[in-house]
């Protein structure tokens, strides 16, 4: 279970001064501009239950990719608390943090972020190599995962020889390699074409249901969020605007921003059989 409590992330030369200004009730834009401040996440609180799949949604620059990076401290929060299963991860030393990352958290990136000079198998096995697992053992595990994401027998290929969709499956397999209980997914399917995206979503939903990982999934695509998420978190300008199920967001948008976001969304049921109830929202 992941808990974020009033976390902030600001960028700039003097984080503390920026934070002080940004935390006021009415921050002075001129001061922030002078400090060359970028406010990534502004006081977000969120808890993700065990086995839950939460989608962070919002426009570009709304802070969703920043927020997901605060969970495994790829970015150091400027303020606030981050807990995993009750343990404060901000107090972890470098070694304990590495341990946490390699055992408990898997991550998938929009740009695949695969290592070009390694084979597909070695890429999948990378988290295990980092953890110091012996070669044969990690290769067996990698092959098992490659089969799982539908890339049977492609272990010896070069990463560059695969298509975008296949590369992202390798990325997914890599995230699962260490059998973490938390999955962080930063716009994993955004760069793919619609058909492949749909396929991968379907495959991911099946996998996710089967494995029951606690997942934070970042996307800017409402349809994707509504299709896969147990709960959707809508962000704007670093703040969480509304949290709820797809139905809740669609039927009771908190403000105009949310309304505009969900206006053209298809609710998951739409895929199978469009109902009158859903069409009313469209």
């Amino acid at each position: 279970m992941i808990e974020l409590e009033d976390v902030w992330k600001v960028f700039g030369a003097d984080e503390r001064a920026i934070l002080r200004e940004a935390r006021r009730d009415a921050p002075d834009e001129a001061v922030l501009k002078r400090l060359r401040a970028v406010v990534g996440v502004a006081g977000a609180s969120l808890s993700v239950g065990k086995g839950e799949l939460v989608c962070l949604m919002g426009l570009s620059g709304s802070g969703k990719s920043t927020l997901v990076r605060l969970v495994n401290r790829l970015l150091e929060p400027s303020a606030g608390r981050v807990r995993i299963d009750g343990g404060d991860i901000l107090s972890l030393g470098p070694k304990a943090l590495r341990e946490l990352r390699s055992r408990r958290i898997g991550m998938v990136f929009q740009s695949h972020a695969l290592v070009a000079h390694l084979s597909v198998r070695d890429n999948v096995a990378l988290p295990l190599e980092i953890r110091g697992v012996a070669r044969t053992k990690r290769e067996d595990r990698a092959d098992e995962l490659l089969a799982r994401v539908g890339l049977d027998g492609l272990g010896d290929r070069r990463v560059g020889a695969l298509s975008g969709g296949m590369q992202q499956r390798v990325g997914l397999a890599r995230a699962l390699a260490a059998d973490p209980d938390i999955l962080l997914m930063d716009e994993p399917f955004s760069a793919l074409d619609p058909l492949i995206r749909h396929d991968l979503q379907t495959q991911f939903m099946a996998l996710s249901r089967e494995l029951g990982k606690t997942t934070v999934f970042v996307t800017h695509d409402v349809d994707e969020a509504f299709r896969i998420a147990d709960r959707v978190v809508l962000m704007r300008a670093g703040r969480i605007v509304q949290t709820g199920t797809a139905e809740a967001l669609a039927s009771r948008p908190a403000d105009d921003y949310v309304r505009r976001f969900v206006r053209n969304a298809r609710l998951p049921a739409c895929d199978a059989q469009p109902s009158a109830r859903v069409r009313a929202f469209a």
């Binding site: 990352r101 958290i105 740009s111 972020a113 000079h117 990378l126 980092i130």
Partner: protein, 497 residues
């Protein structure tokens, strides 16, 4: 339509004065592809002053230089061209001839028919002839002066025609940049800048004419040899102080390099030659494939048959030691530069310095520090050879995608893991290119290293240079080349294209 009027308004604001002219001109330029004839009379008439006032600096300087060049030609011709100089020389020679003749007469009077008198007479006659030639040259130059004036005037005319014909186009391009900058940049005609440009002309043109009217005015650049010698003396003291202070360290370094080189040389020259040859050939085949093996075979045969074997092994030991040290220092340094922008900013000018400073210049301090001999040669070679491997390693490390590194961090990788498993392998092609460059740079230092006592093929080239033995020089040079190419190809291994 509203868009049009906004454009009109922008042009007017950009132009400042004469807005309607520029609206028409810019529109005409935009309406057709290629060069549209458009002649700006003001630009042609006022030249640099116009370009200065419009702040079109990239065009201002060429126009100014053309003006000054024309001024130089015209002033030179008006002052009598080369005729003044030649005339003066003729006068000087004539006086000299007269004195020489007088001397000859006195000598003849004192000792008639003496060798002294004869040679003086001959010298006087020769001087007389030279004076006559100079006078003739002065005459020719005077008649050539009008041609030079014509050339100067033509240059001025041509430059101004080009300025007028291009001015609107240059201004139009600047206008588009100006709009891209959000209309915020400076626009309009600046009287201040025009005055500045006119001021430059008003200073430089009179100087040009004054110089040709009176050559003594701007004859010598005002310099003070005392400053030069004072600075040199201070540097001397500095080098002496540093070499004094560092001599214990330098001594240890020299010994270490000597030991390393001795080991290399011992292996290469102490082992029976058939064994060394066989090992080199086998290495070439194993590491770099059949083609490099063939190349190596040819090179080894050349070196053996022409009697360069021993010396080439000494050279390879020297080259190899220098390259090894360069790579051993260069790769970590490059990694540091790749990670840390500040280190890179400090290193860049330093590397430029090492690469461009003529080797002979730092040879002197190196000798002062490390004495004459092979270690000094190696250190000089390392200074020259290290920059490429540092640069290309830094480039390779800096071009590792940030996302890949981030992913490794997300999976709990340590810094060491990222360096050795992600960054270095990803940067490997770039690093290998740097190593190759470094080897080739080291090669080019072999001859210079020979100057300060390093043995090997460099010596032969040096000998050939001293005795102008072209054939020997070419053969030895080719031997150095072959050593370096073989070394490089073997190090590059199979992936080299």
């Amino acid at each position: 339509m509203s868009d049009h009027s906004a454009w009109d308004e922008a042009v007017s604001r950009f132009a400042g004065i004469n807005g309607s002219y520029y609206r028409r001109a810019f529109r005409r330029i935009g309406e057709r592809r290629g060069y549209v004839p458009s002649f700006n009379v003001a630009a042609a008439l006022f030249g640099p002053v116009w370009f200065g006032g419009r702040r079109l600096w990239s065009a201002f300087w060429p126009v100014l230089v053309a003006d000054l060049l024309a001024a130089v030609l015209i002033a030179f011709a008006l002052s009598g061209g080369a005729s003044g100089e030649q005339g003066a020389r003729a006068d000087r020679l004539a006086t000299l001839a007269a004195t020489r003749l007088a001397e000859a007469r006195t000598a003849n009077d004192a000792d008639p028919g003496s060798a002294m008198a004869k040679s003086l007479t001959r010298s006087a006659a020769a001087l007389e002839q030279a004076a006559k030639d100079a006078r003739q040259a002065a005459e020719d130059a005077r008649s050539g002066a009008s041609l030079i004036v014509a050339i100067g005037g033509g240059l001025l005319l041509l430059a101004r025609l080009a300025a007028g014909g291009l001015a609107d186009h240059i201004a139009e391009r600047r206008f588009r940049e100006w709009r891209l900058e959000g209309d915020a940049g400076k626009a309009g005609f600046s009287l201040l800048h025009a005055a500045g440009a006119a001021g430059l002309l008003a200073v430089f043109v009179p100087i040009v004419f004054l110089h040709f009217a009176d050559r003594t005015l701007f004859d010598a650049v005002p310099s003070d040899p005392a400053w030069n010698s004072a600075a040199a003396a201070r540097l001397n003291a500095g080098v002496a102080a540093v070499s004094g202070a560092a001599s214990p360290v330098a001594g240890r370094l020299t010994a270490a390099i000597d030991a390393m080189l001795g080991l290399m040389e011992g292996i290469l020259t102490g082992t029976p030659w058939p064994v060394v040859m066989a090992v080199i050939l086998a290495l070439a085949w194993q590491l770099a494939g059949f083609r490099v093996f063939l190349l190596t075979f040819v090179a080894v045969s050349y070196l053996a048959i022409l009697g360069y074997w021993e010396k080439s092994m000494q050279t390879v030991a020297l080259l190899g030691t220098a390259a090894l040290i360069s790579v051993a220092i260069g790769i970590p340094l490059g990694v540091l530069c790749g990670y840390n922008r500040r280190v890179a900013a400090v290193m860049r000018p330093l590397l430029d310095f090492m690469q461009t400073m003529p080797a002979f210049v730092y040879l002197i301090p190196v000798i002062a520090l490390f004495g004459i001999g092979k270690p000094s040669g190696i250190i000089a070679t390392v200074i020259f050879g290290i920059p490429p491997v540092v640069r290309l390693t830094a480039l390779g490390i800096a071009s590792v995608p940030a996302a890949v590194r981030e992913a490794a961090v997300a999976f709990g990788a340590s810094r060491t893991f990222i360096l050795f498993r992600i960054d270095l392998p990803t940067a490997a092609p770039s690093i290998m290119a740097g190593v190759s460059q470094t080897i080739l740079m080291c090669l080019s230092m072999v001859v210079i290293a020979a100057l300060i006592g390093a043995k090997g093929l460099g010596e032969d080239v040096l000998h050939a240079l001293q005795y102008a033995a072209q054939g020997q020089g070419l053969l030895a040079g080719l031997a150095i080349l072959l050593c370096a190419i073989v070394l490089d190809r073997i190090v590059q291994g199979r992936q080299s294209p």
